[in-house]
Amino acid sequence: MADQIYWDDVSEGEEFSLNEPMSSQRLVIWAAASGDFYQIHYDDKFAENNHLPDIIVHGALKGMLVGRLLDEWKGEQGAIKNWGVSYRGMDPARQDLTIWGKVTKKYEEGDEALIDLDVGVAQPDGTQTTPGTATVALPKR
């Protein structure tokens, strides 16, 4: 379990990330978890017939990887208020994706200590396909 992060210790501009391999097996497990059985995500021939360069990573899986990034960063005492991503590009499978977050604003509202973030998913060459934003509440020291 990760150490607890505190609002007081976070700085605007701070960045954190996960590096996640995207195998065909992982996409099949996601299909079972989500109920999304569209063949472009696990059937090579189907993907090829749809003029895709490879099977592609489910958009929703990328969104939930951002959720995991935030869940692990906030620690047990933090809370995710919301997050959202746009699916602007396809990510071919069988490559690593970087799931990242960057603190954009630190503020207090009512009795909550909040952090706004930019979040996203990047391909190995740096191409950004899944930009988004999030707000997380963190405990104060």
């Binding site: 379990m1 996960l18 996640e20 992982r26 497990i29 996601w30 079972a32 978890a33 989500s34 109920g35 958009g59 929703a60 899986l61 969104g63 939930m64 990887l65 959720g67 995991r68 935030l70 869940d71 692990e72 047990e76 809370a79 995710i80 208020k81 919301n82 997050w83 959202g84 991503v85 746009s86 699916y87 988004g132």
Partner: protein
């Protein structure tokens, strides 16, 4: 017909604000484990009920964003939702997702999910004419009638 469409049809305009369906979602412990595995969680509280209980939780917690699976009905569409208007476009893309967790969900919870179209827009994209549909789904736990999450999604048809 899709390229000839100049504006939203009356049927489309009337669909905004309407419910597209009410679906029951089951949050099973096995569903939580499969979701956690596919997303790459290593925290054992998402897999082992004894770990969750020793952390003071009443059961296996659902990772953020996992709201279970709709109960499968072979006689309905996969999400149990109904079409409120005739969509002239053939291809569909998922444009984005937003999640607002409100209450912690646990294995064994049954959620009542109600979806509503919040906006429809006809626009010109690089793929041709495109219908952008925004919707919101509100998930309520049946056992205590609490809203546990809201999700918002964007569907692109072209």
């Amino acid at each position: 017909m899709s390229e000839e469409l100049e504006d939203l049809t009356d049927e489309m305009k009337a669909a905004v604000g309407q419910e597209t369906g009410r679906v029951t979602y089951e949050v099973t412990t096995q569903g939580i484990r499969t979701f956690a595995r596919s997303v790459g969680y290593t925290d054992m509280k998402y897999y082992d009920e004894s770990v969750a209980e020793s952390a003071g939780l009443p059961g296996l917690p659902s990772p953020p964003g996992f709201l279970g699976m709709p109960i499968f009905n072979p006689n309905a569409d996969s999400r149990g939702r109904r079409a409120l208007f005739e969509n002239p476009f053939q291809r569909n893309l998922n444009g984005g997702t937003e999640v607002e967790p409100i209450e912690q969900v646990y294995g064994g919870d049954i959620l009542d999910a109600v979806s509503r179209i919040t906006s429809l827009e006809l626009t010109q994209s690089r793929l041709g004419k495109m219908l952008i549909q925004n919707s919101e789904t509100v998930y309520t736990r049946v056992s205590d009638n609490k809203v546990v999450a809201k999700t918002r999604g964007t569907g692109l048809s072209y």
